[in-house]
Point group: D2
Chain length 365, copies 4
């Protein structure tokens, strides 16, 4: 089935394999009149680019984006924006040994059963490179959101046992360390941990958090298209994510109502909340406070240790994975999480434009 | 926007408010030839019916379902199945004091901002009664799944600090206690906790788990419509859910790759996994082992304690919520979680029918 | 597959069979704040009600509509509006002879092949009564459109060879004759023709036209969701329609460009067209002039003459159709055409609300 | 809104402007295991390529297609297939005079009103070149259909008053003349007519017909997603189409039921029809006989004559359109009609795979 499209009105369709000719995305439903150039997108892509630090794959891709349509005289025209990134550094031979074997923790076996065979080069469609299209589209969504006063901040919250201390939180620090952590002390400890993990030929899990400021009250649809529900789909659809939490997340299962409820208060006509356990969403609809969403990433399944598995003849075999891969997924996925949040939120902001007849009258009458 | 429809091919559309005339669902895209009678659906609805135990609201609703279309001679015809449940026990006056005030932890404020006003009776569309349509549709999905060899088991995993001990797990126990816990010892402790919570005029959080057996390998679409992504949307769209976890969930963020990877093994031609950290899903596609999904429910926001809030004139007020409400959400939501999992999985099983040309040839040639 | 839902944002889902308990529709995505009562819908339904004249079936249905959800204090709330019409006058026995035979011109054979069996009572889901849900939803769409200054006029344009003379066109006349023709002279001739057709135990074809005034310029999406493309789907999806024409329709195939092009002209800042061959749509987008759409209806396939056909054992048989049926489809379908046009246009007007960033800024900033 | 995607399961998303860098399409939901190479697609594209005859634009484009993803080892993998055609022969200056003026019969004015401005080069997104993506996708759909025994034949049926004589119908003739007519005599007359039209600096209308053989009985969904309804959307969404007819089309409005009904007959267990007025579709579902669909194309709106119009300051001006354009649209649109029919039909064949539980059991059990 078609599963490469996301969004109802601001709609993106991604395509491309790890070792194919190119990867890309078509962004349909972007409002016209947004200033947009390739560099707006490139800065997002550079945040996920490989080879940036000791902790990411040595694959050396420029990941240069080209805009092929939908922009004229430096502005979006309202028609579909097609973005392409050509693959350049493809070491296909590195992956030859996985053509017939199913790597533990990967989808190789599932693809073969589903489709009869698979493009085994570098994970094909299930490679992390699939996120290039998401991030390119996310850059556009974030640009539109910024016109409406909405901003997103995303960072690595934890790596293994190293969790940031919110008292040390510095937004500026995020771009200062290769792990995209907002706490310099924690980032240093995490780097040490990662060196040890790499020395062990192993990998480790992590978590990523996104904070969204400036969302108007009322965004999200009451039942299935709740803001948190679509954010959950968006984030869980990123490879390696195994949990999505909104606001206090799993902790709510142990809380009392008197503790978890956020009291409202009014001052100068503005309604605010005294606390924000809800993470900015009540009943699936934005309540005006910061939206807080957290993703848990599993450790990179590609490790250099010998593992037991089966091949496509369904025989038991041992496998040692070669090739280039990251010891951790979270840091490079920070911009992917931000992108998916931006796309989801923008689509629902657009959808909400017709929630009441007065909105339509503002436009048409 | 339209947000009351879920699913791509097996598609459900729910409607209805807590204190309107009725609630219901239209199930479109159900295959023809499934034996179906009202009792098949009623047994599911009875699992979420109010007034069943000391721990649920005193509201006394029969919640009797009628099939209005789509079934002929005891079988589904392939055309839309319309299901309706009339509201009977509506104490609208109980809720009069919330017409102008915004209840903490509820969506009252968000609805007023989004739509300009709201049906304030009993929460209107954001009431827990909205799930009647989901459960009625879920009963049908589960029936179709059972024809394909897929079964679901769902239960309350924890209430506050009382977490089930998997060594005591008994599937039969689930229907034996009013909390739908599979561990009798834990259920007893949880009941004691709940009594204390109620004596405090408070409420408490909980978690619910669903285990799905028998899913064919290959279900789920690689990118945005991953099986876990759509399950995440489905579960997060249930009111009060703040976290969704697949397999080991948030715990993966602290694990090593060598620990989290499930090794494959082959025996008599069958491929299985030695462990199941993945929760039955790899790269968004079912891997043939049990699917494990967990939801964290916040405590019921309606509590009998006095709370600070604002009214719709944006003035500070105090509110004491009257009316009938549960001290905990999880147990009555067990069948809602099961229903949403069944609907999501069935839709993707149907979608997968055209994954390879050989599947289509089996049908058409 | 799910095929009972129409529209992207203003989205309707219909359900129900000719001889089931009831028929209905769920309208999701209707803006809040529209005054709506059951009578607003009933006046539309009454236009398609059977038993109104000598030229329609004797089936005697009140077709009384009830609003079950989505309206509070006389206004739409923004949540799904569920509408139901109970069947009351079901002469199931009249249709007993078609349980095993395939009526020529009907979908009986197709349903049996597709689904394995069918609800044969009165055509089941493929009955003309299926349009009840469309018309009920159309009444709401027309109400919303009227708030935005858009109005629709629909009428029977021709019956057999009796075609209206546009020089005699009188909008007021439409509701004056049972054939809904805007030309009293033509209506009289058509009535005489119909009496002859009925005396012959036969039926006859017809055409219906809808004129939409007041559509803002710019409605419709450039490629697949063109205004005329979605109108074509909407109208062709009405049973018995075999052709859809926009503006000059099939006649354009014989015209010269110099004849078919409409020249623009400006006066007092307003842009208008000197002619309207385009029928108000250029490149799939409304151009501000009247939208003109025409549907050709085949003759009622149920006729009292003996016909050759096959049964469900695939044996040759003769069939004489009993029961109650109209000798002509167009007149009763006038309100169905109007409803489908209203639904389609409203959905695209809503969609267009985010075409440019300035529109969103009017709402959010 | 997003309007560049068509199809529910076999889903295509097109992008690109006449004078942008490239045009293309992403085909998602194509079953795996189909042999596919670039030449399969190129032969379709060559049928719509400009500069092929005296009767098409002099624009000289190679229109070479590249497959960027979704194919591995010569077979479709089940993941999205991205196809791209780079623009090479862009005479942007030819179109400079339309930057500020609204061409009669074109969507220039509508685009400016909708989006605030437009890519005016060569019609931008509303250019006939937009169909490149449709045709590239159509080639794939036709390939999949051929695996299921379904074939399509498409041709120009009429040009102005020159209508083919079905007694002279020769399938082989279609590719023999530059007008793609199946009747050599008619093609010759039409060519003479076109020369006269061109000498007059004018253009002319035409009609195109598609015949589909081998469709299984039962394809199409009963209500809104009827086979003919989706074909109508598909065909009407092609620029310049003003009418869509199925089977006898507009002629049914004058027919008697006894004349229009097709009688069924059985022989050796097979059900067939004695006539095919229905055009292979009853109640929106394929009946096993040939599907016949017809499109009426308006004359090319770009003509060399002086025309009255307005500019974007809403002042009256005269315009003479320069540049390269065809005197007729139908012949080059033959392959576009065929492509849209193939895409629509395949999507519904896939959708029908889950119509009955027995179909799913064939795949899963």
């Amino acid at each position: 089935m078609a599963g490469s499209t996301f969004g109802n009105i601001f709609k993106i369709t991604t395509w491309g394999e790890s070792h194919g000719k190119a990867l890309g995305v078509v962004v349909d439903g972007c409002p016209s009149g947004i200033n947009l150039c390739e560099n707006d997108i490139q800065v997002f892509l550079d945040r996920r680019k490989p080879g940036q630090s000791a902790f990411s794959t040595k694959r050396n891709e420029a990941d240069s984006v080209q805009i092929l349509s939908g922009v004229f005289d430096g502005k979006t025209t309202g028609t579909p924006i097609s973005l392409i990134v050509y693959n350049t550094d493809q070491h296909s031979k590195d992956y030859g040994n996985i053509a017939t074997c199913y790597r533990p923790g990967h989808a190789d076996y599932c693809f073969d059963e589903k489709y009869g065979f698979r493009d085994y080069r570098g994970g094909g469609r299930s490679s992390g490179r699939e996120t290039i299209g998401r991030v390119a589209a996310g850059a556009i969504a974030a640009k539109v959101l910024s016109e409406l006063g909405v901003t997103l901040t995303t960072y690595t919250r934890s790596i293994g046992d190293c969790v940031i201390d919110y008292n040390n939180f510095s937004k500026d620090e995020i771009m200062n360390n290769p792990l995209y952590m907002p706490d310099a002390v924690c980032a240093k400890k995490a780097a040490e941990l990662l060196e040890k993990v790499m020395a062990d030929n192993d990998s480790i899990g992590s978590s990523v958090e996104c904070i969204i400021k400036g969302t108007p009250v009322g965004i999200g649809e009451p039942v299935f298209d709740k803001l948190d529900a679509l954010l959950a789909q968006a984030i869980m659809s990123i490879g390696a994510v195994k949990a999505v939490e909104i606001g206090d997340g799993t902790a709510v299962s142990k809380m009392r109502g008197s503790e978890n409820n956020d009291n409202f208060t009014a001052g100068s006509g503005n309604v605010t909340k005294l606390t924000n356990h809800s993470g900015g969403i009540l009943g699936g609809i934005s309540d005006g406070s910061d939206i807080r969403i957290r993703a848990s990433f599993k450790p990179t399944p590609s490790i250099y240790k010998m593992q037991h598995t089966v091949n496509n003849a369904h025989e038991n075999v041992d496998i040692e994975i070669k090739g280039r891969h990251d010891p951790i997924i979270g840091p490079r996925a920070v911009v992917v999480v931000e992108s998916m949040c931006a796309i989801t939120l923008l689509d629902l902001i657009i959808a909400n434009a017709s929630a009441k007849i007065d909105n339509l009258k503002k436009i048409y009458i």
